[in-house]
């Protein structure tokens, strides 16, 4: 007896097993729903057949990480033996499991198993032919699993499997009407001829109604941290002002200071300061952005999504007092050879991926051509100064293999930035290069126990120099080892244990003027260093820093309250300090759609090699500490609209600041405080609209020496408002805008100068530290995207205008050579740009 075809009612995860149900206001993340790969026919109950009764049984079931079905409940029984038959058949179904961030996750879903008599009758008729086929997405050639294919005239349905395949058996010869309807794809209707005794094979290419990246569903990942803001690649591909760069998109979120484009643009300043780090798959990368923040150093197309923790992050991260950005890479595709090639005004890149052996391999590469543009645009008098004009490139090779509960990932990646200046008699330049590998083995031992081991080795060189007066060179190889074990101790209690060890070895060279260079809060230099040779000091040191850490975190669910006490114990080898860092966060769903949250934690950071140098700094410095506190609420206003309000306070302690004693230079005597509130009003990505309003009010202050008053931090930005909106007019046309308003940065005014006769240099005399403030910054960025979808590939072009109304934003204050006159130095004017991308 032939089973009646099932209808999958809901594939949206209702309750995540082993993880808490996601609060309604949590940030979305990419979830791929489970796909039925093995269907089991249920025998038609004899009594029902005899009574010629049809029925449908609605079941609730759990699809585990291995694709097996468990915990079947009959939600809507049908009786007459239908329920038992359906349960027995469904218990033997096999699914491709649901995935979040590439990781298989258990989900609970509803499934409707329908028994119709018509089919049975038809099955009893003489079989004559077979119709089979495959559903492919236009443009990407991606197989489409989980779509329902109907033969309306015959009342038959089939669901496409993981390969997008479907089949109808025992069809009478003749012409049949076939229909595919899905909310995400344009409707398909076609007629096919079924020939007696033969199999008719068809292939349908469905056009997607909207084109983003390969993320299939924007879902929600359970959240533990008080503030973790997740951006999926699909959301930010067409965000104005970012050129489709995933990492740049975080600059539009609350708590992130605006850093003017330029050679300081790669700085990530979160919640009023403290160092911040960028991670790839939880391993730190030496440089997140190519210089000037033009582009991130990892191809966006390989990024699944990224989490921004502006503060109060969990115990798995450490070594910085600020915040963290964690980029998670996606799995390489294994459903054929795919790739893209793209180009815009800055660079060109390409990616190729596909199956290799039992796994998937992706190779990406990108190179800028700013040097080529400058070669045309700059006058000869300037051009001749460059032997290597500004240029960057990066590349990634990602291999992934999954075998049951095992998930192995290998990544080779690197990046290079260079400017070399060479005139007839002088030279200088800036080089920042890094390369290395990362390996990760994830093993889900069972639903209650997951083990993840990963290691990376990254070697980097950061070099800046000008003539023989100044050179700073840091060559470092960093080994990072992580081992995480997640264990469900009880239905309401999870334990996470981990090791996070870093070993860095290399050399540090600094040649510069004695007495050091400007620090935070001191006026930056107005040009290249210009020193008397007699004042030049050079120091070369071997670096061997080890910072092993262990951490433990409990996740305790008490009804609607979730408590996460944690502890991170860390050894800072460079300063020989032990840091015990307790952290606690809590979330409580106090009403439907309303969540309260709070967190407190201690964070530690060791000084850099400059500060620990025995000629320019103080090797006896100890670590700097920061207490971070935050509290707020999240409110789901509508299905797509959510509000997140978070207040925060940070207290910096033991900051390394300058002392007058020339034999000591620096001491852990500084303090700092930051307080403010972040607001995120967000409209999730729906079929047409996506956007957010991000606002941060804050005050960030420092006190350099005991007894002194507080002064403003260099990037204290009282108001920071960003409005981002994208609208899809048609499936192939979309437009976006970004408007930002940010308070001007503080600056230290010059009040005069004295002249150094030996260098013929005017040495500026500073006024009170950060006592001036630049005018507010505001700018509008616009973007228009057009997609062309062809059968096997698609083409996307975009036009973008940054600073569309050409606001003359003041970037800095420039002074005359003798500091008697000043003028505003302006930020970038309106910048039109254009890009094109073809992918298959």
């Amino acid at each position: 007896m032939r089973p009646i075809l099932p209808l999958l009612l809901l594939l949206v995860p209702l309750v995540a097993v082993g993880q808490e149900a996601a609060p309604a206001s949590e940030a979305p993340a990419a979830i791929t729903p489970p796909t039925l790969v093995e269907f089991i026919e249920a025998p038609y109950p004899a009594a029902a057949l005899e009574a010629r009764r049809e029925a449908a049984v609605v079941l609730a079931l759990t699809v585990g990480v291995d694709g097996a079905v468990s915990d079947i409940e009959v939600v809507e029984p049908a009786g007459d033996g239908f329920d038992e038959a359906a349960v027995e058949a469904v218990s033997r179904f096999r699914f491709e499991p649901a995935r979040s961030g590439g990781e298989a996750i258990p989900v609970r879903l509803q499934y409707r198993y329908a028994f119709t008599l018509k089919q049975v009758v038809e099955e009893k008729a003489a079989p004559t032919g077979r119709l089979e086929g495959r559903l492919i997405e236009a443009g990407t050639r991606r197989p489409l699993p989980g779509l329902i294919v109907r033969l309306p005239a015959l009342g038959q349905e089939a669901i496409s499997d993981a390969e997008g395949r479907f089949a109808f058996e025992n069809l009478q010869s003749g012409r049949v009407l076939l229909r595919v309807e899905d909310p995400e794809y344009a409707d398909l209707e076609d007629e096919e001829d079924v020939v007696e005794g033969q199999a008719t094979e068809v292939r349908y290419i469905l056009e997607r109604d909207a084109f983003g990246d390969t993320v299939t569903v924007v879902g929600r990942r359970p959240r533990k941290e008080v503030v973790r803001r997740t951006v999926s690649v699909q959301e930010i591909r067409t965000l104005p002002g970012t050129q489709g760069d995933a990492l740049k998109a975080v600059q539009n979120l609350p708590g992130v200071a605006r850093v003017a484009p330029g050679f300081d643009g790669d700085r990530l300043v979160l919640r009023g300061g403290g160092s911040s780090r960028a991670y790839v798959d939880r391993h730190p990368v030496p440089l997140a952005f190519h210089f000037g923040g033009i582009r991130s150093t990892v191809a966006s197309a390989l990024i699944e999504d990224l989490d921004l923790y502006p503060g109060n992050y969990g115990p798995e991260f450490g070594r910085v007092n600020g915040g963290v950005v964690d980029v998670r890479l996606r799995d390489p595709r294994t459903d054929g050879i795919h790739g893209y090639a793209e180009a815009d005004v800055f660079d060109a890149g390409a990616l190729v991926e596909g199956p290799v052996g039992d796994g998937g391999l992706a190779v990406a590469f990108r190179r800028s051509y700013i040097d080529g543009v400058l070669a045309v645009a700059l006058p000869e008098s300037v051009r001749r100064r460059f032997s290597t004009a500004p240029r960057y490139y990066d590349g990634q090779v990602l291999y992934q293999r999954k075998d049951g509960p095992h998930d192995l990932r290998l990544l080779l990646f690197g990046s290079s930035d260079r400017i070399i200046v060479l005139s007839e008699s002088a030279q200088g330049g800036f080089v920042n290069e890094w390369a290395g590998g990362l390996g990760r083995w994830r093993h889900r031992i069972d639903d209650d126990l997951t083990h993840e081991l990963s290691a990376s080795v990254l070697c980097s060189q950061e070099n800046g120099r000008f003539n023989t007066d100044f050179e700073r060179n840091v060559e470092l190889c960093r080994l990072t080892l992580r081992d995480d074990l997640s264990l469900a101790l009880a239905p309401t209690l999870d334990l996470r244990l981990g090791i996070d060890a870093e070993l860095a070895a290399g050399t540090f060279l600094l040649r510069s003027q004695a007495g050091g260079f400007p620090r935070e809060g001191e006026a930056p230099p107005d040009g290249p260093p210009k020193a008397n040779d007699a004042e030049i000091v050079e120091v070369t040191e071997d670096l061997l820093w080890n910072t092993p850490a262990v951490f433990a975190e409990l996740e305790w669910r008490l009804g609607k309250l979730k408590l996460l006490p944690s502890l991170r114990l860390e050894w800072f080898g460079a300063t020989e300090d032990v840091a015990l860092q307790p952290r606690l966060s809590a979330r409580a769903e106090v009403a439907s759609g309303t969540t309260l949250k709070a967190a407190v934690g201690l964070y530690s950071e060791q000084p850099g090699p400059d500060d620990l140098s025995d000629r320019f700094g103080n090797p006896d410095l100890s670590i700097e500490r920061t207490w971070q506190v935050s509290a707020g609420f999240e409110q789901q206003l509508t299905e797509a609209l959510s509000l997140d309000v978070t207040g925060f306070y940070k207290q910096f302690q033991d900051l390394a600041t300058r002392v007058d004693d020339p034999s000591v230079r620096l001491a852990n005597q500084g303090e700092g405080r930051v307080y403010g509130v972040e607001v995120l009003l967000r409209h999730d990505l729906t079929s047409r609209l996506f956007g957010w309003l991000a606002y941060t009010w804050q005050r960030s202050e420092r006190r350099d020496r005991p007894g002194e008053g507080y002064r403003l931090f260099d990037l204290d930005q009282t108001h920071n408002l960003t409005v981002v909106a994208q609208y899809r007019f048609t499936p192939t046309w979309e437009a976006g805008l970004r408007w930002r308003f940010v308070s001007g940065n503080p600056y230290t005014p010059a009040v005069g100068a004295v002249v150094d006769s030996d260098d013929l240099t005017y040495v500026r005399l500073d006024g009170e530290s950060n006592s001036g403030r630049l005018p507010p910054y505001h700018a509008l960025d616009l973007r228009l995207d057009k997609h062309w979808v062809f059968e096997t590939w698609r083409l996307t072009t975009y036009l973008e205008a940054q600073n569309a109304y050409n606001r003359e934003n003041v970037r800095d204050i420039g002074y005359s050579y003798d500091y008697t006159e000043s003028e505003s130095q302006l930020d970038l004017p309106i910048i039109p740009s254009f890009g094109v991308r073809g992918e298959w």
Binding site: F466, D533, Y817
Partner: protein
């Protein structure tokens, strides 16, 4: 440190791109002190040093001068005044020249009595490695903003003290008529640049000569810090004929300074 790297990189990228309406250093449009020249930039502890302020006023006005000195310098350039008033050395001159008489000040004995002294880099100051005496000068046209300038005179025991750069010629190549481009060129003497042994490291080093050009009329080619070691530049003469004053200031990177002046008359087109 990072701030300096970034400033350097930013300068490299933006070199020559920015437009500015601010006064240009090479154009002498107001009273300017171009440098303090010591007859010897490096001297023995009992030496007498003649100091000269090389200045220029396009209107030919009489400037006023106040000289001072600090017994030894900790190298803090921004601190024009002596950090410790008791270390001030009287320099009673009121004109553009002054004399530092170390023997008369009993410099060596006073220094030894005050030792050990620590420099900015944490090093112990010694007359064997050299100690800087900082000369301060406040000069200007009465009633106008004064220029404050300082210069270090290195006091050191031992042989082969540094000398000011020897320049044999400050030439103008080209047709010296209005609205023309001509080349200004410095020619060094045989002993310039000098090769010397660094006291601290024992390394043998050759001086790197750096040149600044100035003019009170016309315009000089924009010279970035990358071009300072070039001994020549382009001067676009003024559009109108008449007298003009040119200066070249040559420094050796370790205190030696020579300032040359050329008075020229630009002919008609």
């Amino acid at each position: 440190m990072r701030a300096h790297l970034l400033a350097l990189a930013g300068f490299l990228a933006a070199a020559g791109c920015a437009e500015s309406t601010l006064p240009v250093e090479s154009e002498l449009t107001d009273y300017r002190v171009l440098g303090i020249v010591a007859d010897r930039p490096e001297v023995a502890p009992d030496a007498q040093v003649a100091l000269t302020a090389v200045d220029f006023d396009p209107e030919g006005r009489q400037a006023g001068y106040v000289w001072s000195a600090c017994f030894y310098s900790l190298g803090s350039r921004a601190k024009f005044q002596c950090a410790d008033p008791s270390l001030e050395i009287p320099l009673p001159a009121t004109g553009p020249t002054a004399v530092l008489d170390l023997a008369a000040l009993d410099f060596e004995a006073r220094f030894e009595a005050a030792s050990p002294l620590v420099g900015l880099d944490g090093e112990v100051l010694s007359l064997d490695t050299g100690v800087d005496v900082t000369i301060g000068l406040t000069a200007g046209i009465p009633g106008q903003r004064a220029t404050r300038m300082y210069k270090r005179v290195r006091v050191r025991r031992g042989d082969a003290p540094n000398q000011n750069p020897a320049v044999t010629a400050f030439e103008i190549e080209g047709d010296l008529r209005a609205g023309r481009e001509v080349t200004l060129r410095i020619t060094y003497g045989d002993d310039t640049p000098e090769t010397y042994t660094e006291v601290q490291t024992g390394r043998t080093t050759t001086e790197r000569m750096l040149v600044n050009f100035y003019a009170d009329a016309g315009s000089l080619a924009d010279r970035s810090p990358f071009d300072e070691s070039l001994p020549d530049t382009t001067w676009t003469t003024p559009d109108e004929p008449g007298p003009a004053v040119l200066f070249a200031a040559i420094r050796d990177g370790r205190g030696g300074l020579t300032v040359l002046r050329r008075d020229v008359v630009v002919g008609p087109r």
